[in-house]
């Protein structure tokens, strides 16, 4: 992938709208009856990479990305953080769950460019720098809340999100609000036990 041009790097969402007419709009300009006073062409071009800044696990990453790149693929293939997993790529399994600005989301269904400037937390960002595990990670070990381990990063991120949303008040709550994370090994009862164990400490973490 080619490096972005300097002018492109300088683009931000403000001057997207105020920029001059693009040199080569990829799409023919069709009739626009109203709002002629607005300048409505951006300088972005088809197939041009977009520089996206993500703060991932408190570190700034400036990535030059195809706009089609999902947040998931940006994490895995561009930021080198492969802890976040691809299980379906269509929002059906939850394996790609990360926190964006503290909320759990599916990174496969979000284009990375849409997350410019946001704070992303992945499984790699949970343990403290001295290696001490997040209480949810420890609880997953204690309760054997996984077998193959593939859905586990998504389960743990989702569990933290679930607790922080206030949706871990009862076992039934946890079961319902963790149902977006499929575990094909079916460690579900152990996952519920892990969330119960860690919810108190997670609220404070």
């Amino acid at each position: 992938m080619s490096q972005p041009s300097a002018s492109h790097v300088a683009l931000n969402r403000r001057n997207f709208m105020t920029g001059t007419v693009s040199a080569a709009a990829a799409v023919p300009l069709l009739g626009s009856p109203a709002k002629t006073q607005e300048v409505t062409q951006s300088r972005a071009r088809l197939r041009e990479p977009v520089v996206t800044t993500l703060r991932i696990n408190k570190q700034r990453h400036e990535l030059s990305l195809d706009p089609r790149t999902s947040l998931l693929d940006a994490l895995r293939d561009h930021a080198g953080l492969t802890g976040t997993k691809k299980g379906c790529d269509h929002g059906q399994c939850g394996a790609c769950t990360v926190l964006v600005d503290g909320k759990r989301v599916l990174s496969c269904l979000s284009f990375a460019v849409m997350n410019d400037g946001k704070e992303v937390t992945t499984i790699e960002g949970l343990a403290s720098s001295d290696g001490k595990l997040h209480p949810m990670q420890q609880a997953f070990i204690d309760h054997d809340a996984f077998q193959c381990g593939y859905c586990t990063p998504g389960q743990i991120m989702s569990a933290i999100g679930c607790v922080n949303e206030g949706h871990a008040e009862s076992e039934n709550d946890i079961r319902e609000y963790m149902s977006g994370n499929i575990c094909r090994c079916a460690a579900y009862p152990n996952i519920v036990a892990a969330v119960l164990q860690a919810r108190g400490e997670t609220r404070g973490a």
Binding site: D66, G83, K86, H90, D144, P153, R184, A186
Partner: protein, 759 residues
């Protein structure tokens, strides 16, 4: 005590946490598609949209024009490569790019390779095929199927078992049933997507791909690529769920290897979930006819089980569960027959308890019907028909704790509180049903090699080319070494999932714990022998105590008399830094070729029904409670109890988890899982996790696993019976039994769905 870590009973090992647990909760467990590789190129598959015919034209111009596209591998590009050979290591004999014939929906027609994942996907979507289409045959009842007898078509299924005169006994039986059952197509759907990453270092090929069979794949891939197997390496340290789907290699692997060779750079292809339905294997749909005759006392006198299974045109894959169902109870007379029905479908393959899931489902649903016909409690009916020897070869069971399982599970479940009257139990608007069924799985074992090294610092390195698919085999192998060498588990590193390690058999058939632990045991015992010999040799720290029994504990050799010596000092006395032993384990009854076959990737399986002295099975009993809404009839399983006896339990934590996962799989089999085939086109319809439903967290509430103690020295040196596939056998029949109890409706076709209960 924590439910996840049951207190060990007799012949059960400690519930140690998994040795790779920390890696798995921190995102540091690297699955094959996680491999960072410089200058990697991305591959995306294009697949056929017809099930039968020929590709007449492939239009590649639009795909090639996508910026970043590097190559398209398609017809003609695999001509110098040998086609796959159907068998344990290869899912099919179809070489999809070797000729333009289409055998099934979703067959690979090209691989687009590009600088980025996005470009590769775009290009693959732009590949346009033109077909000469023939009318395809979808499945049972479709015009154009071909039916052949299954016996002898697979080395795993040699004959249709029988005993006595079924016809006469059935005709004479006082009480009898004659019913038909069916199970649908199912796909494994492990959460890890199927992927291949291939790169070449000179004439050496390295493939990172989730695999349950690295040795078998190495040999088969080398054969396809006409290479020396020594130059092929398959790497698969972590596998994100397998369930049989990653047992046989699929044609994609060689195609990606060829692409990497052509480009001179690493290529990674991650198959989309939709594409996996056509490019991987699946559980064949099956049909069954079961006839049971019994006396009024409940003793079965006649049992017949006929099965029909769908397979592909080119490959005769056999499910074949009658060898187990024919031996389950004391039947008197037995008649079985299995037929294969060929259609225009991809070749089916192993999926968790491949024969037992469909066949035991049919048998156990029939057993429940029979108990109803006899007016007998279903547990009592099984107790009455408990055999002394198996009915086919009249061999004893090496151990059989079925009744203990029923008793313990029934007690924990509260079976005595069940009102046997149909529809008698209710909770508000919810009908309650309770049912039970038997679980059975053959206990097999295969040759296996392992290397164990004990250093002067007390570290142990254990190497074995087995596969950590979530079973905990890495942990239990480490536990075996820990126990035999007297070294704490955290001093033991366990390496698995690489064909450059000592070979292990395919991780299928629930053989891994038994086979791997037997090999590790043998290697460790060789180390012990050397240590004890050195310690008692002249000048050794325990010189003179030759005739004593020794053990290793806490880094010391301990004699029965109480004398002890540090292992460290023994090694120093031997003037070595480490003792390393390479052990090759071959089970009792192994042929002289057994080890050679292990290295060739075609290991012999022993045990099950095949041994001369006894038949070897693990057993269990499962009880479920279903709740069905009075109006809307949705079915839920809020409670399930399973008791299982499987010889020595290496680790109660990992054993319980596997059985728990199996039971939940069983609930999925009962209520959710089915791949729908559009019968007009022989194409799969619900090809993703949106429409192929598996249980979610909210579906599972109260689940209890009971590990029934059992000792069986006959099965293998480790005394272990596999249990990874035991838990999901019988569950669906227990659910069907409970649904009948709640509603009076006998559902014989899986999955049991709302529409079957509305009418």
């Amino acid at each position: 005590m924590d439910a996840a870590a049951p207190r060990p009973k007799e012949n059960q090992g400690e519930p140690l946490p998994r040795v790779d647990a920390r890696l798995k909760v921190t995102g540091q467990a690297h699955y094959p598609a996680d491999l960072p590789a410089a200058s990697i190129a991305y591959g995306a598959l294009a697949t056929s949209s017809i099930a039968r015919g020929k590709v007449t034209k492939l239009r590649l111009d639009d795909a090639r024009a996508v910026p970043g596209v590097l190559d398209i591998v398609t017809y003609g590009d695999m001509d110098k490569i040998d086609k796959p050979k159907f068998g344990n290591s290869s899912a099919t004999s179809i070489g999809p790019l070797h000729d333009r014939t289409i055998f099934h929906d979703g067959q690979i027609i090209a691989l687009a390779v590009a600088e980025t994942f996005e470009a590769a996907e775009e290009a693959a979507q732009l590949i346009r095929a033109e077909y000469e289409e023939d009318k395809p045959t979808a499945s049972f009842d479709s015009p154009g199927t071909k039916t052949v007898a299954a016996a002898g078509k697979s080395p795993m299924f040699k004959e249709d078992v029988k005993a006595g005169d079924f016809d006469a006994a059935f005709a004479a039986a006082a009480v009898k049933i004659d019913q038909r059952y069916s199970t649908p197509t199912q796909h494994h759907n492990p959460i890890e997507l199927f992927s291949t990453t291939a790169y070449w270092q000179g004439d050496q090929l390295v493939v990172h791909e989730p695999s349950q069979n690295v040795t078998g794949w190495k040999v088969e891939l080398a054969r396809q690529l006409k290479m020396d197997p020594a130059n092929v390496r398959i790497v698969s340290p972590f596998i994100g769920g397998a369930f049989g789907s990653k047992g046989p290699m699929t044609p994609r692997t060689a195609i990606v290897a060829v692409a990497a060779k052509r480009l001179g750079r690493p290529v990674r292809c991650v198959t989309s979930r939709m594409q996996a339905f056509g490019t991987q294997t699946y559980r064949a749909e099956t049909r069954h006819r079961i006839r049971i005759g019994a006396g009024k006392d409940g003793r079965i006198t006649a049992f017949a089980h006929e099965g029909w299974e769908v397979t592909s045109r080119p490959d005769l894959y056999v499910v074949g569960g009658t060898s187990a169902t024919g031996r389950m109870y004391g039947y008197g007379s037995v008649l079985t027959h299995v037929s294969l029905v060929q259609a225009d479908r991809n070749t089916p393959g192993y999926m968790r308890s491949p024969p037992e899931t469909p066949y035991v489902y049919a048998l156990e649903n029939a057993m429940d019907e029979m108990a109803v016909a006899l007016g007998m409690d279903p547990v009592e009916f099984r107790r009455i028909n408990e055999p002394k020897t198996e009915p086919i070869g009249k061999k004893p069971f090496s151990s059989r704790s079925l009744i203990q399982c029923y008793d313990q599970a029934a007690e924990a479940f509260g079976w005595a509180r069940r009102d046997p009257k149909i529809g008698a139990m209710r909770d508000g608007e919810w009908l309650i049903g309770m049912g039970c069924a038997t679980a059975i799985y053959p206990t097999a074992v295969a040759p296996c090699a392992a290397r164990v090294r004990l250093t002067v610092d007390g570290d142990v390195r254990l190497q074995c080319g087995s596969h950590e698919i979530g079973t905990g085999v890495r942990t239990v192998a480490g536990q075996m070494a820990s126990e035999r060498l007297g070294v704490a588990i955290d001093k033991i590193s366990v390496e698995m999932g690489d064909s450059s390690l000592p070979p292990a058999p395919v991780s299928g058939g629930s053989i891994s714990t038994a086979s791997v632990c037997s090999a590790v045991l043998k290697a460790c015992d060789a180390i012990r022998t050397k240590l004890f010999a050195a310690a008692t040799a002249e000048g050794g720290p325990l010189a003179g105590s030759h005739n004593e029994e020794f053990d290793l504990a806490d880094g010391k050799i301990v004699a029965k008399s109480g004398a002890s010596a540090k292992v460290e000092n023994v090694l120093k006395a031997m003037q070595v830094g480490a003792i390393e032993e390479y052990a090759e384990f071959a089970p009792k009854g192994a042929t002289p070729e057994a080890l050679k076959k292990l290295y060739a990737g075609t290991p012999e399986f022993h045990g099950g029904e095949q041994d001369e002295d006894s038949v070897k099975y693990a057993f269990g009993a499962e009880f479920v409670e279903v709740r069905i809404n009075r109006y809307t009839r949705e079915i839920r399983v809020p409670r399930i109890v399973g008791a299982f006896a499987a010889g020595r339990i290496m680790n109660t934590r990992t054993a319980r988890s596997q059985l728990m996962g199996g039971m939940i799989w069983g609930i999925g089999q009962a209520l959710h899982e089915a791949t729908e085939v559009d019968r007009r086109y022989a194409r799969y319809v619900n090809r993703d996790l949106q429409d192929y439903l598996v249980p979610v967290n909210a579906d599972i509430k109260d689940l209890q696993v009971i590990l029934v103690p059992e000792i069986d020295h006959a099965v293998n040196p480790a005394g272990v019976k596999g249990l990874g596939e035991l838990g999901n056998v019988g569950t669906a029949a227990a659910v069907a039994s409970a649904v009948f109890h709640a509603t009076g409706k006998r559902i014989r076709d899986l999955p049991i769905r709302i529409e079957q209960l509305l009418v």
